[in-house]
Point group: C2
Chain length 156, copies 2
DNA sequence: AAGTTTTTTTCGAATTTCGTAAAAAAAGGA
DNA sequence: TCCTTTTTTTACGAAATTCGAAAAAAACTT
């Protein structure tokens, strides 16, 4: 996989704003032909650099309760637990971490009841979970994949 | 905003797989006309139910270091701190939570150095941050917005 | 049930995407 | 540096998709 150049990053930046903007429009904005945009996007997709998706608003879908749950797992069962957790559609993020918790997950629910059910009836059934620290989301300030930057100016 | 019906959810489910699938194709799959798909997607977008975006792979962008940072803020400065944090492009998630940490953020960096710089030189400059618990991501198992379900079967 | 509003379908025109060949540019080798 | 090879970009006609708007159908109201 070749390193991304400036044009690739510009394409990604434009698509971050609107994932359905026509190639002709991107081409116009960047001053190249549609074919170039098409060829590059095809390559980026093949290389797995990005995917076209949609970002639903959980609130608008009735998922009013969101939580981050820090888990401690029994030594040796972490991977299996992570895989089990990943199967739930309510769970949108699962990662293994250094620090206090072995696994940290992020999940969405319709109600507090559903969250409770998840913790008490689903998590408890998964072999290898020692403890679960639930943090309830009170307000979301940012949630985006817009971290493509022109040139490595991540910290501004 | 009207409640989403079955067709709306089916549209979202299809778009979750491929955010750039043609309306004609969705129409074909659901057995309705292209115009219906177009009208519904236009309405869903206007209602803010979802957005067309792209999901870049941080690794492929050279962002090899990801972290979740739990923050404790001084009473009264939480909102300001959250807003400041949201300004960083490296920060992809900022939320206010109940539990051990007032704010939890998720961020991506090119290197450990960049992470250290972020914590020591950027976070420390933000007025109102009392402490920061950094958890380094070792492995990602799931990261998706695919939580649109047919009918409230979030827990399976 | 008649009238009103909303949603869906239809269809021609405009636009976009696609396939592909040729040209141009870039990269590599002697 | 010049030549060859490879990669990328451009060009362009054909196919497919999107768009606008009017007609039809469906859903609500009273």
């Amino acid at each position: 996989m070749k390193k991304l150049d400036h044009v690739d990053k510009q394409i990604l930046q434009i698509l971050q704003e609107d994932g359905r903007i026509p190639y002709t429009e991107i081409a116009h904005q960047l001053g190249v032909s549609e074919g170039t945009i098409r060829a590059r996007i095809t390559r980026l997709l093949q290389d797995g650099v990005f995917q076209f998706i949609i970002h639903p608003d959980p609130e608008k879908l009735g998922l009013h309760v969101q939580a981050i749950i820090g888990l401690t797992t029994r030594l040796g069962s972490q991977i299996k637990v992570a895989e089990e957790l990943s199967k739930f559609s309510a769970v949108r993020f699962v990662g293994s971490f250094s620090g206090k918790h072995d696994l940290i997950i992020q999940a969405c629910f319709h109600s507090n009841d559903e969250l409770i059910t998840f913790v008490n009836e689903r998590l408890s059934q998964i072999e290898g979970i020692v403890s679960a620290d639930v943090s309830l989301e009170l307000k979301q300030y940012k949630d985006s994949f817009s971290f493509v930057q022109d040139d490595d100016v991540t910290l501004q």
